[in-house]
């Protein structure tokens, strides 16, 4: 019996009880811990506060209308821009990294992959605080640069160049800091799918291209890159979506203008005490996520 036949033999039609027994627990799990928690805020998003404590689900679209105000559209656009920039930097930094790991000697690969995953062993909050210690005006980065600057300054002065004293880089509390933080957090999600795609690649194709005289850049552009595209697409999705909804990073590293949509949503559930509007904003964010997923689906179906 071939694999296909054995699959048919185990199809739900032939063994309904087994199917139900195996399928029920995960479906129940999804219903209780995924659908219900999603249904509650979705109902809230069509509601209004009638008293301080009671929200009536009236079916009103007012909360969604509110999300379409220019103020909130601007925040959505800004969040998308930061998430897109994060994704771009992750692709540019992640591709060479994944390539290097994929082509590393076999015995080194597990170690290199472990290095990529190492940050996950520490809580995001702790890592973000560590990043603050690196980026702040009197932080490790500026201290290091200051030392370098002083080392260069003396010989430069001897040669007649009067270098100005070192000014710490103002990195903390800027959009750049948010970008650095988001790239740091999301890079592994780009490297891992890229690595998986590159690892699966048939090396014979590269050799064939080289044998036929293609120079290295051409091999990369015409062979490696197209074969890695599914990995790039997965990596983009895995990076873009969490970056779009990031809350902690802009909150801690950002400056006066680094507000992202999740920060606004958080305030609706705390300070502003407007759960219906917060729920509506959340669903707009989820909608954007679906748009990203649909775009990826469309890309894939076009390729195949």
């Amino acid at each position: 019996m071939s694999a296909a036949e054995s699959f048919v033999a185990e199809s739900p039609a032939r063994r309904p009880r087994l199917f139900v027994a195996l399928g029920l627990p995960p479906m129940a799990w999804l219903a209780v811990f995924f659908l219900v928690p999603m249904a509650l805020p979705s109902a809230l998003s069509f509601g209004q506060n009638v008293t301080l404590t009671r929200i009536a689900v009236t079916g009103s679209l007012a909360n969604y209308a509110h999300t379409l105000q220019p103020l909130y559209l601007r925040i959505l656009a800004k969040s998308l821009a930061i998430a897109a920039a994060t994704t771009l930097v992750c692709v540019l930094a992640g591709f060479p990294t994944a390539l290097a790991i994929a082509f590393a000697p076999a015995r080194r690969k597990p170690w290199l992959l472990a290095l990529i995953m190492l940050p996950f062993w520490t809580n995001l909050l702790v890592r973000t605080f560590a990043l603050m210690a690196v980026l702040r005006p009197e932080g490790y980065l500026n201290k290091g640069l200051g030392v370098l600057w002083r080392l260069i300054r003396a010989p430069a002065a001897a040669l007649g160049f009067a270098a100005p004293p070192f000014h710490p880089l103002a990195l903390m509390n800027t959009d750049v800091a948010v970008l650095i933080g988001l790239v740091y957090v999301n890079l592994p999600f780009m490297v891992l799918p890229l690595y998986a795609a590159l690892e699966r690649m048939d090396r014979g194709l590269i050799e064939a291209a080289q044998d036929l005289g293609a120079p290295a850049p051409r091999v990369f552009a015409r062979v490696i890159l197209p074969l890695a595209m599914p990995g790039v697409a997965s990596g983009v999705i895995l990076t873009l979506i969490p970056a779009l909804g990031s809350y902690l990073t802009p909150d801690l590293l950002g400056g006066p203008s680094s507000l992202m949509i999740a920060n606004v949503i958080e305030r609706q559930f705390h300070a502003a005490d407007d759960w219906p509007f917060g729920a509506a904003l959340s669903f707009v964010l989820i909608l954007l996520t679906f748009v990203a997923l649909a775009a990826r689906g469309a890309m894939q179906s076009r390729r195949s």
Partner: protein, 358 residues
């Protein structure tokens, strides 16, 4: 000091901490003389009680206190909104005393059973948010002002101007990202009382802060004292208690309450509706307002205490600290921020969003 709010701001709120069962899982206890179970459920902020307070209370009354923790007022409110799950004493901030009362979630205090209320300093005996202290007793209080680095700021920056309306310290300014506080203090700087603000004033505050934004380095979440200490900024809107804490580490730091006046903030003891053991709750509140218990709490948490009898027992470093206890003339210019309805808090929040997006 207000690490509790910092944690909340970070989203690291200990969401699960307060979810444990309250009554079901404990060993039965006997009844006290008042006929109630000799037990009390206290719902409190983290690190917000004296090292021996609960033990001392048990020794004095035989009532065992079980403390659960919350990280934000919203969490407290949400927990009580669906029906009191068994809490006897809670510690809401002043605006939430109003909110809880309006929502019918507080029960009035039986003042006769709280004789120690005479220990409360006059300033706190009759606040606007709870005239006559019928619903709450003060536990701690704080006042907003400007913390600053003396060597980097010219003289004493005793005006909100330096953070709201001037580029003199551009790039070295931190302000609170708390919408209500920001709008109200902005209005106070412009010469208005911080309540019933007309829309044009709110817009004027928003315009002023949008104009000021390039000079503002950070809208912080109550970690202003850390940013000041680390040298990230040189002047910051913060609570007196927080700045007093970092001043102990760095003598180059100081604190001033601007001459336009400022906002007070006070965490209060209150009894939620449906508290299973109201007698014990009153006994606990009375105990905390005692001189020794109050001093023991202040000794541990180092917040400004509204308890005059406790204050007298404190060491001079605390009692005579002008940052923790500003002169009465200065405090007279300060008011409580008042809860003015959901529409108001949402308007203030959207104003902050407007400022941050511009």
């Amino acid at each position: 000091m207000r690490r509790r709010s910092l944690l909340a701001g970070l989203g690291a709120a200990a969401a699960g901490i307060s979810l444990g069962g309250l009554d079901g899982c404990e060993a039965p206890v006997g009844r006290g003389r008042n006929g109630e179970e000799a037990r009390l459920n206290l719902y409190n902020w983290d690190t917000y009680v004296g090292a021996t307070t609960l033990r001392d209370f048990r020794a004095a009354t035989g009532v065992a206190v079980k403390m659960s923790l919350y990280a934000t007022n919203d969490e407290l409110f949400a927990r009580l909104a669906d029906g009191n799950p068994g809490f006897d004493v809670i510690v809401p901030s002043n605006e939430y005393v109003t909110r809880l009362r309006l929502a019918g979630l507080l029960q009035p205090l039986d003042l006769e059973t709280i004789p120690n209320r005479v220990n409360i300093l006059p300033t706190f005996q009759n606040p606007a948010f709870d005239p006559g202290r019928r619903w709450s007793m003060p536990y701690t209080w704080l006042v907003l002002g400007l913390g600053y680095r003396k060597s980097r700021i010219a003289g004493v920056p005793d005006s909100w101007k330096w953070v709201f309306d001037s580029d003199r310290y551009a790039g070295r300014i931190g302000v609170f990202s708390e919408a209500d506080d920001l709008v109200r203090l902005g209005a106070m700087y412009l010469g208005h009382a911080p309540r019933d603000l007309p829309t044009p004033v709110i817009d004027q505050v928003a315009a002023m802060l949008i104009h000021q934004k390039p000079a503002i380095k950070v809208f912080h979440h109550d970690e202003g004292q850390d940013l000041l200490l680390a040298g990230d900024i040189d002047i910051v809107m913060e609570y007196n208690g927080d700045i007093a804490q970092v001043m102990a580490e760095d003598p180059d730091l100081d604190f001033v309450i601007p001459r336009e006046g400022s906002l007070l903030d006070s965490d209060c003891l209150a009894i939620p509706t449906g508290a299973p053991r109201p007698d014990n709750a009153h006994a606990f509140i009375n105990f905390v307002l005692g001189a020794k218990a109050g001093a023991e709490i202040a000794q541990t948490i180092r917040y400004p205490t509204p308890n005059g009898a406790a204050l007298e027992l404190m060491d001079a470093a605390y009692r005579d600290n002008p940052v923790i206890f500003p002169p009465p003339a200065v405090l007279a210019r300060c008011q409580y921020g008042e809860f003015e309805g959901l529409a108001r808090s949402r308007l203030y929040d959207e104003t902050l969003t407007r400022i941050l997006v511009s």
